[in-house]
C-alpha cells in the first residue's frame, strides 16, 4: 500500500517544483508514495492536480477541525506554503495531532525556533518534524553530518568554528525575497559556546547569539567562475553573515554527534551593492513594522516574478562551502560543493525526505540529514539523494 503525501502550498513557486518532482518520482502505479496536492484556492490547484494526474484537497488554515479532517490518512504533510510565519506552526501542530509527519521548506529563523518547541510533542506521538528541508539547509546538514562523522573517526571531538558560505543567488523567488525581508528585522543568529552551569545547565552548551547585520564579514574562496573556471585559481569573494536556519540545524547536528563547537556561522556572498543594501536595509528595518511601509514593501515584492524560469535556474548553479577549524583554529575541513540551482535541489530534497519519513522509523525533531539517513559517509552523500549531480571538492580534509 502506498503512503499518502500531502503537499500543501502546491500552487506556489516552490510548491509547483516540488509537485513536479514528486509526481515524476511517484508516477509508477507501484510507487511507495501517492501524491495529493493541497492549497487554499481550488481553481489553480485543480488545474495543477489535473496536469500531474493526482488528487487534490483545497482547504484554508482557519478551521482546525477541517484541517484535521483533511489530514486523515495522510502519512507525511509537506508544507511549501509561505510565508511560513503564517502557516508552519498551524500545519505542524495539526500534523502532530493527526499523527502524520511534517516537513517544510521554511527558511526563517524565528519560525524554526517556534516549531522546535513542538519536537517533544512529536516524539511522544511517534511522528517526525523536519523543518527547513529545502536547500541550502539540507545540503549543509548532509555535509556537516558527513564531516563530523569523519572528524569523530579521527578522534576530533572539539571544534573551533563551523562556517557555511553560499554563493550569490542571482535569481530568487518572491517567497525567498519576502523571507529575506522579514529576516532583515532581526539580527544575525550565530552559535557561541557558553557556560550555562550557572543556570542549572551543563558546563558548556552551544547557545544562540545575535550580532548586528554587517558585523561579521569574511572572504571565501568560492572557486573561479566564468572564463577563469577550471583554472584552479582561488577566487576570494566577500560574504556577510546572514540569518540562516543552517546555523540552528548545525547546532542540533553537533549536539547529536556529541561534538563541542565553539562557534557556528552562516554566510552568503554579497557584492558591494548587496552589502550596502543589506546593511541599509537592516538599519531601516524597524520602519517595516509601520503598516504602510510594510504594505509598500509587500506591494513591491508582488511586482517581482514568482520565481526564476527553468532557463534562469539552469544558468545559475550554486556553490556551498563548509569550513571547519579545530579548537586551535587549524582548518580541518574545507569542502566546496557545486551543484544545480537551489530551487531544483529543494524539490529533490523534500521529496526524498518525505519518502524516507513515510517508510517509518522517525520521530521527534529531525534534521534533514537525519531523515535522509543519519551518519552517511561522504561517498554516500555524494552519490545519494538529493546531492546526486553535485560536485564535491575536498580542499582540506584532515587525516
Amino acid at each position: 500500500m502506498s503512503h499518502t503525501i500531502l503537499l500543501y502550498g502546491a500552487t506556489g513557486f516552490s510548491g509547483r517544483l516540488i509537485a513536479g518532482a514528486a509526481a515524476k518520482r511517484w508516477s509508477a502505479p507501484a510507487a511507495a508514495c501517492r501524491l495529493v496536492l493541497g492549497a487554499r484556492e481550488s481553481a489553480e490547484l485543480k488545474q495543477l492536480a489535473h496536469r500531474h494526474a493526482v488528487d487534490y484537497r483545497a482547504f484554508g488554515l482557519d478551521d482546525r477541525p477541517r484541517v484535521l479532517r483533511e489530514l486523515r490518512g495522510v502519512k507525511v504533510l509537506v508544507n511549501a506554503a509561505g510565508p511560513f510565519a503564517w502557516t508552519a506552526e498551524r500545519l505542524a501542530k495539526a500534523a502532530v495531532e493527526a499523527g502524520c509527519h511534517y516537513v517544510d521548506i521554511n527558511g526563517e529563523v524565528d519560525v524554526y525556533k517556534r516549531l522546535d518547541d513542538l519536537g517533544r510533542f512529536a516524539a511522544q506521538r511517534q511522528v517526525a518534524i523536519v523543518c527547513s528541508a529545502g536547500h541550502m539547509s539540507t545540503t549543509s546538514d548532509l555535509l556537516l553530518d558527513a564531516a563530523l562523522q569523519h572528524l569523530g573517526n579521527k578522534g576530533i571531538v572539539e571544534l573551533g568554528t563551523v562556517r557555511f558560505a553560499m554563493s550569490r543567488v542571482t535569481h530568487v523567488s518572491r517567497g525567498s525575497t519576502e523571507s529575506a525581508l522579514r529576516s532583515l528585522r532581526e539580527q544575525v543568529t550565530v552559535v557561541r559556546e557558553a557556560d550555562v552551569s550557572c543556570q542549572g545547565g551543563p558546563r558548556w552548551q552551544p547557545v544562540l547569539w545575535h550580532l548586528p547585520v554587517g558585523a561579521l564579514e569574511r572572504t571565501f574562496d568560492f572557486g573561479a567562475r566564468g572564463k577563469h573556471a577550471g583554472a584552479g585559481k582561488p577566487d576570494l569573494r566577500i560574504a556577510s553573515a546572514v540569518n540562516l536556519v543552517d546555523t540552528l540545524t548545525a547546532r542540533v547536528q553537533a549536539m547529536r554527534h556529541g561534538v563541542r563547537v565553539h562557534q557556528i556561522e552562516s554566510y552568503m556572498e554579497t557584492g558591494t551593492a548587496a552589502r550596502v543594501g543589506y546593511q541599509l536595509g537592516a538599519f531601516a528595518a524597524p520602519l517595516l513594522s509601520l503598516p504602510w511601509v510594510g504594505a509598500l514593501a509587500r506591494a513591491q515584492i508582488a511586482l517581482l516574478p514568482e520565481g526564476p524560469t527553468a532557463q534562469e535556474r539552469a544558468a545559475s548553479p550554486h556553490v556551498l562551502l563548509l569550513e571547519i577549524e579545530d579548537a586551535a583554529r587549524t582548518p580541518v575541513i574545507d569542502w566546496r560543493l557545486a551543484g544545480p540551482n537551489i530551487y531544483d535541489v529543494t524539490a529533490e530534497a523534500v521529496t526524498a525526505i518525505a519518502e524516507r519519513l513515510a517508510e517509518g522509523g522517525f520521530s521527534g525533531w529531525c534534521t534533514p540529514a537525519e531523515a535522509l539517513g543519519p551518519r552517511l559517509t561522504l561517498t554516500e552523500v555524494e552519490q545519494g539523494e538529493p546531492l546526486r549531480g553535485c560536485r564535491l571538492e575536498q580542499r582540506v580534509t584532515v587525516g
Partner: protein, 589 residues
C-alpha cells in the same frame, strides 16, 4: 532496621458483570482487562496493614480460585506517602480514613463521595460518612508449609499527555509483584459488605449484600507500596483520550475566599536568589547537568525558566464550590466539593538563551497543601501540583480544631456553621489520615477587624489598568533583573491578581513517563478586595516530612531570624471572587 512486614487479607468472588447498557465509562472496576465467557466478573478485595497504616485495594482478578493477576481499579490508603507511591506505580489510590475493628474484622473506609441522586443533598460531596465497610477481615499467618500465592498486578501508569494535557493522557502499562509468605487459605461462608449509595467514586458492581462463597487468603507481603517491577513495557507511552471521571480539565471555583501575604525576599540578597532558583528548579528539569535520561528533543530546548521577582506570595484559600465545567456522567453540573489550600506562589518567566527579555510570565507553585484527598489526587495526577495533605485548624478553647474541607468543624452536622477563613490559625501537616504531622504555619492577626463591609467591589479595568502603581501580589520594585522589567513586569503588576498564567511540571514524581510543562490560565471575576488594617503575623515551621521547597523557605527565614514575619497593612490582603482554571491545549492555534 528492616521495615515491619505487611499483612494482607485477600478475598476473591464472582459476581455478574452488568450488561453493557449499564456500564458507566467511569466505573473503574468495569474496565477489567480480564475476559470472561460466563458473563461473570471476578472481584478481589485486598486489605493491607503495616502498623497503623492500612490500604484497601479493590481489583478485578483473572481467576476466582487461583488468582495470579489482579488489576486494581480503585484503592484507598491512609498513609499519604504510601498513597503517592502507589499512584506513581499506576495504582489509583486515594487517601481515606481506614479503621479496623479486630473483634469482628470490620474494615471501614471513609473517603469523600457523591451520593446517588436518590439521596438528599446529592450535589454536595460527603466527607465524613463511610463509603465502604468490609466485615470478617482477619489477618492470619501460617507456619510452614504455606499455600502458594503468586500475584502480579496489571496496572497502567498515567500522566497528562505532553501535547494535549487538557484532553488526553499518556499511558504506560506496568506489571508489579510482591512475594508473599505464610499464606493461609480458607473459605468463609460469606463476607459482609456495605457500600454507600454513591455516584462517585463509582464502585459498581460492588453493592451492599453478603458475598457468598468467597475465597480468602492471608499472610505477609515482602513490601508495599514499593513493589518489584516484573515487566514494564518497552516502547513509548501512548496518548489516549481521558475516560476517567475527570474528562474535562476546565474548573469553575465559586465562593472563593483568599488571604494573601506578600513576602519580600529582597532583604536576603543572593540567598533569596538561590532559594528562588531552587524553588523553581522542577521547571528546569530539561537543563539538569546529568541529562542522560532526557530525550534529544528535551535536551535541545534552548530556554529555561527564571524567577522573575524577589518576592513570593503565600496564600490561604477556601474554595467554597469547586465544579467541573463539563462533568461527565454520572457527575452533574451542580456537583461540587470544597477545600482549603495553602500555597506558595513564585512568579516565573521563560528566558530564551538568545534573548535579553523574558517572556510568558506565569505563576509556579512549589509547595501546596490541601485538605481534600480528591483535590490532592487531581492536582498531582492531572495538573502538576505536588499537593500534600494538611489540616486547617481554628482555635477552639485554645486548642486547634480541624476544619472539614467545606469550612465547618469536623464532626459537625453535614451543613454546619461555616467558620470564617480568618479564624484559621494553624495549618498542620497530615502524614497519615488522622495523624498529626506538626504545624506548618501559624497565623495571627492580632486585633485586626475583619468587617464584611471592608470589601470593595473592584472595577477591574480601572483598578488593575495600566495606571496602577502598587500591585497586590507583585510590585514594580520586585523586578530587579533586567530581563524581567518593562514589558514583562507591567502586565503582571497590573493584572497579576485578576488573571494569571500557571505553569507546573507533570508528572510530579518519577513514574517512567517523560516530564513536561503543563500550562493553564486562572481567570478571576466578581473580585472584591480588602486590605485589612492591622499586622498579620506568620510563623513558618518545617515539620519532618514537609516538602523540600517549604523546608528551604523555612530555613532561609530561620537563618535570617525571620521565621516569624510581621506583615503590615498593604502587604497582606483579603479577596473574594469567582475563579476559572483552564489547562492549555498545547496544539491549539
Amino acid at each position: 532496621m528492616a521495615p515491619a512486614p505487611v499483612k494482607f487479607w485477600l478475598a476473591t468472588f464472582e459476581t455478574d458483570r452488568p450488561p453493557p447498557a449499564t456500564v458507566a465509562a467511569t466505573a473503574p472496576l468495569l474496565g477489567s482487562p480480564f475476559e470472561s465467557s460466563t458473563g461473570k466478573i471476578v472481584i478481589a478485595i485486598e486489605v493491607l496493614n503495616r502498623g497503623a497504616e492500612y490500604a484497601v485495594v479493590i481489583a478485578t482478578a483473572n481467576d476466582v480460585e487461583y488468582p495470579s493477576e489482579l488489576a486494581c481499579g480503585l484503592g484507598f490508603a491512609n498513609g499519604a506517602a504510601a498513597c503517592d507511591l502507589a499512584r506513581e506505580s499506576g495504582f489509583p489510590v486515594v487517601e481515606a480514613t481506614i479503621t479496623f475493628r479486630p473483634a469482628d474484622g470490620l474494615v471501614t473506609v471513609v473517603a469523600p463521595f457523591f451520593a446517588a441522586k436518590t439521596e438528599s443533598d446529592a450535589n454536595v460531596i460527603r466527607y465524613e460518612e463511610p463509603l465502604l465497610a468490609i466485615g470478617g477481615v482477619e489477618f492470619r499467618e501460617a507456619s510452614y508449609p504455606d499455600v502458594p500465592l503468586d500475584i502480579t498486578y496489571r496496572q497502567t501508569i498515567v500522566a497528562p499527555d505532553a501535547a494535549r494535557p487538557d484532553m488526553e493522557i499518556a499511558t504506560l502499562p506496568a506489571r508489579w509483584r510482591t512475594s508473599r509468605t505464610g499464606t493461609v487459605q480458607w473459605r468463609p461462608a460469606e463476607i459482609a459488605l456495605q457500600v454507600a449509595s454513591v455516584r462517585f467514586p463509582e464502585l459498581m458492581p460492588l453493592a451492599t449484600a453478603p458475598i457468598a462463597a468467597p475465597r480468602v487468603w492471608s499472610g505477609s507481603m515482602s513490601s508495599y507500596p514499593e513493589l518489584d517491577p516484573v515487566l514494564v513495557r518497552q516502547g513509548p507511552p501512548q496518548p489516549e483520550p481521558r475516560v476517567d471521571t475527570v474528562t474535562s480539565l476546565a474548573y469553575r471555583f465559586e465562593d472563593v475566599e483568599l488571604l494573601g501575604f506578600r513576602i519580600d525576599l529582597g532583604q536576603f540578597g543572593g540567598e533569596a536568589d538561590r532559594l528562588l532558583e531552587k524553588l523553581i528548579s522542577p521547571l528546569n528539569f530539561h537543563r539538569i547537568a546529568d541529562a542522560a535520561e532526557l530525550t534529544d528533543t528535551a535536551r535541545l530546548a534552548d530556554f529555561r525558566y527564571g524567577a522573575a521577582a524577589r518576592a513570593i506570595v503565600i496564600e490561604l484559600l477556601r474554595y467554597g464550590k469547586m465544579k467541573l465545567d463539563d462533568p461527565p456522567a454520572p457527575m452533574e453540573p451542580g456537583d461540587y466539593q470544597s477545600q482549603h489550600e495553602l500555597l506558595v506562589r513564585v512568579l516565573v518567566g521563560r528566558l530564551d538563551d538568545d534573548t535579553a527579555q523574558a517572556r510568558d510570565p506565569a505563576v509556579f507553585v512549589p509547595a501546596i497543601f490541601v485538605d481534600n484527598p480528591w483535590s490532592k489526587v487531581v492536582g498531582r495526577e492531572l495538573q502538576g501540583f505536588d499537593k500534600q495533605l494538611a489540616r486547617f485548624c481554628v482555635a477552639v478553647g485554645g486548642a486547634p480544631q480541624p476544619l472539614r474541607p467545606d469550612g465547618c468543624l469536623c464532626n459537625d452536622a453535614r451543613q454546619g456553621p461555616l467558620q470564617p477563613l480568618e479564624r484559621i490559625s494553624q495549618i498542620r501537616l497530615v502524614p497519615r489520615v488522622g495523624q498529626d504531622g506538626g504545624a506548618l504555619l501559624d497565623l495571627d492577626y492580632g486585633s485586626t477587624p475583619f468587617e464584611e463591609n471592608a470589601f470593595t467591589a473592584i472595577d477591574l479595568p480601572l483598578a488593575f489598568g495600566r495606571s496602577l502603581l502598587a500591585g497586590v501580589r507583585w510590585r514594580q520594585p520586585d523586578f530587579d533583573a533586567i530581563a524581567f522589567r518593562r514589558s514583562f513586569a507591567r502586565p503582571m503588576v497590573a493584572n497579576g491578581l485578576t488573571s494569571f498564567r500557571s505553569v507546573q511540571v507533570t508528572p510530579v514524581d518519577a513514574r517512567g513517563l517523560e516530564k513536561t510543562w503543563i500550562q493553564g490560565t486562572f481567570a478571576l471575576d466578581r473580585v472584591r478586595l480588602a486590605f485589612p488594617a492591622g499586622i498579620a503575623t506568620l510563623t513558618l515551621h518545617a515539620p519532618p516530612g514537609a516538602p523540600e521547597s517549604w523546608e528551604r523557605l523555612c530555613k532561609l527565614l530561620e537563618r535570617a531570624g525571620a521565621s516569624t514575619l510581621g506583615l503590615p497593612t498593604g502587604d497582606w490582603y483579603r479577596l473574594k471572587c469567582r475563579m476559572e482554571l483552564r489547562i492549555d491545549d498545547g496544539l491549539a492555534w
